[in-house]
Amino acid sequence: MSRLEGRVALVTGGLRGIGLATAERLAQDGAKVVVSDLSPESDPTVAEVLGRLGENASYISFNVAEEQGWKDAVATISERYGRLDVLVNNAGIDGTGKIHEMDFAVWRKVQAVNCDAAFLSAKYAYALLKSAGEQTAGGASIINVSSVMGFVSFPESSAYSTSKGGVRLFTKAAALEFATENVPIRVNSVHPGFVETPLLTEGFDRMVERGVAEKAEDLVGLVATSTPMNRLARPEEVAAVIAFLACDDASYVTGSEYVVDGGYLTR
């Protein structure tokens, strides 16, 4: 299957979890994939991941929360590939804690990485995406990875759910703006439920440290039983939705929120 042949895709936070699965899937579908993350290029993980993505893949180290980072990253992509068709804003952090105990700096950082980055990416990649979109049947595609927590919240998750709700509505604002101005960039959000990723595991480990549960496996079991499909998602299952939104099959889909949660929000 090569439905993304000739297309160039950027996946932020692409060295692990949903980002890595997405980079691999888009490469399988024929795209040239640019992975970004915080690790320096010398990190052995970078070479290992690029090795799996084929000869056209490359890596950019930058912080998605920084304006200059986006300017430089887009310039690099323009220089290396001359186009950008698919932009997956996947990089994300959590940041749990009670409101009255949370440092403002932690709150700010969560908003910056999870929400500001969507704005910065759309602002600085706009011209490159627009010109690529004009050359393809389905237009260019921005996919913002939000969460079921863009719809609902939990105690001690104010920063995370606020950021994920923010990116859900930024998605709609951007989709409307581009569509009404005939700019061929589609913008959609994807909302995973609980996924087997390092971010989830690390979050559970910290909850165990705080005495919320005895061991992380108990928490995994708990979220599985709270999901109607009675299991967690595999990162590949989220990547498949992202790949659908990236390709021309989704040419009429913009401003939508695609939930992939095993029925979690249905409860």
């Binding site: 009404t180 989704a250 913009t254 401003g255």
Partner: protein, 260 residues
């Protein structure tokens, strides 16, 4: 692309025209064996000849007919993997002030009870699949589930109702341990023959076209193929963790408004 649905058996209700016919084409292209229902024999025969799909003359609200259709699916295919609850109507609808109660009941029997019967019968067949209860059921709702129309009260109400119907069914399947997923799609106005005929019957067809297109920030209607592509995605194993969801495909029509 061919092969994504190889070995799967699909049922499409209301498959003789419009989105249903588009789904029959796409699902067969992707490798599924398709049986579709409807009441228009001539276009059905042409679609069978074109795609290799099978046709059963049946209206979704016909309870007894479901037994015959289910028996046929079991005996001819031995299983069911995909059900697209697509059949719908709007004829005779009106505003809440004007709608005739017989028309209201007829629209509910097709758009709502018909979808319930589709899901109910699909689950019963899917439960007997050789590897256990597996499958994907897709309900064709509409953006009008969220953007209610004042002059189509029954249509708007039934399209909203089937969202809850799909979610309740998804919950039931999940909690019963069935690997049967149930999701809804919410298309904007789709350029089907039905819509084009409505448009062309207006005193000013171009103005009517402009009105339909203008409902979507993308400023065009959906193509049947675009909606069929979303159905094919949700039908496939790619969507294995998606259940209880409602996916809009509306050119940003429900994302907000184009300005104050």
């Amino acid at each position: 692309m061919a092969g994504k649905l190889d070995g799967k058996v699909a049922l499409v209700t209301g498959g003789t025209s419009g989105i249903g016919a588009g789904a029959v084409r796409r699902l067969t292209e992707d490798g599924a064996k398709v049986i579709f229902t409807g009441s228009k024999k001539e276009p059905a025969e042409a679609l069978c000849a074109e795609t290799g799909a099978a046709f059963e003359s049946h209206r979704v609200q016909d309870v007894e007919g479901w037994q015959k259709l289910s028996d046929r699916i079991r005996s001819e295919y031995g299983r069911l993997d995909i059900a697209f609850a697509n059949a719908g109507m709007e004829a005779g609808d009106g505003s809440v002030e004007d709608v005739d109660v017989d028309n209201w009941n007829r629209i509910i029997s097709v758009n709502q009870t018909g979808v319930m019967l589709t899901i109910q019968n699909a689950i019963r067949i899917m439960k007997d699949n050789a590897e256990g209860a597996t499958g994907s059921i897709i309900v064709n709702s509409s953006m009008n589930a969220k953007l209610a129309m004042g002059n189509f009260v029954a249509y708007s109400v039934t399209k909203a109702a089937v969202l809850a119907l799909a979610k309740s069914s998804a919950m039931h399947c999940g909690l019963s341990g069935y690997k049967i997923r149930v999701n809804s799609i919410l298309p904007g106005v789709v350029a089907t023959d039905m819509i084009l005929n409505i448009m062309n019957a207006q005193p000013d067809p171009e103005a009517a076209r402009g009105m339909y297109e203008g409902m979507h920030p993308m400023k065009r209607m959906a193509k049947v193929e675009e909606v069929a592509a979303l159905v094919a995605f949700l039908a496939s194993d790619e969507a294995a963790f998606i259940s209880g969801a409602d996916y809009s495909i509306d050119g940003a029509a429900t994302a907000g408004t184009m300005g104050v």
